[in-house]
Symmetry: C2
Subunit: 142 residues, 2 copies
Amino acid sequence: MLKNSEFVSKLRNSGLRPTKQRLKICEVLFNRDKTFHFTINDLAKNISENFNEKISLATIYNTIHAFKDKGYLKEITISSDKSYFDTNITKHHHFYDEDTNLLIDCNDNEIGKVNIKNNITGKKISSVEVLVRVASDTQNQN
Amino acid sequence: MLKNSEFVSKLRNSGLRPTKQRLKICEVLFNRDKTFHFTINDLAKNISENFNEKISLATIYNTIHAFKDKGYLKEITISSDKSYFDTNITKHHHFYDEDTNLLIDCNDNEIGKVNIKNNITGKKISSVEVLVRVASDTQNQN
DNA sequence: ATTTAGTTTAGAATTATTATAAATTAACAA
DNA sequence: TTGTTAATTTATAATAATTCTAAACTAAAT
């Protein structure tokens, strides 16, 4: 549960003015007990259905991208046509359920630390992400 | 270096007839010493520039997707707007160089085995993929 | 050879995302 | 406050990537 002033600083830190629309987006994203995963489409639908406001897609894209660039959101891309954002910005990995198309956060009880023995010379690691795809036993496996 | 008959069986196994266009695609993809990464665009350009043939995008998409579904190609998705295919279909992980936008295969000397301690109940693991993003030290990190 | 069903193709349709430009609004200085 | 400036919102247009369509073509099987 974050307060309005916290939304304002998230926006300011991302180089954005706190407008009515952006504060509404913050409320939907960050005014929760638990983090969650969403697509741009989910978010747009959520706002237009649950609040009787319509924020234009351009505004949604621009706000989400600024948050992503600033690190207030993480993007998890499953395939060229499925991309999710995660409000959990701590280092963690994911299960992806191919039956339900749902992402599930992992913690250290589920996936041990990834051991990177050698990195590319002259480069710094900016992130390490593991994606474990799962499906029901009866499903076709690749 | 694969022979024509091997391309034919790859195609047949993928439920596709071996046509002139598809065999050309096979040649470009599989008639090599080393595996490689490509985008659909790369592939289309490659074919139209290096051979003076033009295979329609529809055919390229259809063939690549059939190969992917059958497991003759792997897809590695970097972000919603960058997706690569890999002709290396063995289990392996990737570095992604954010400076050059290049994917680099990892082997076990670089990334140790990922330890999955607990899986989702009732589900089977279909793949485990690690993506390590790297960038030059001076680069902006998220 | 003939037939049948799968394939190729250009171009249309669709989808996701980004750009545009006019109307609106936040910020700030007077 | 109020007025000015610059950022923002918005609907819509533009772009890009992918999929669909239907007519012409081709492989496979009589």
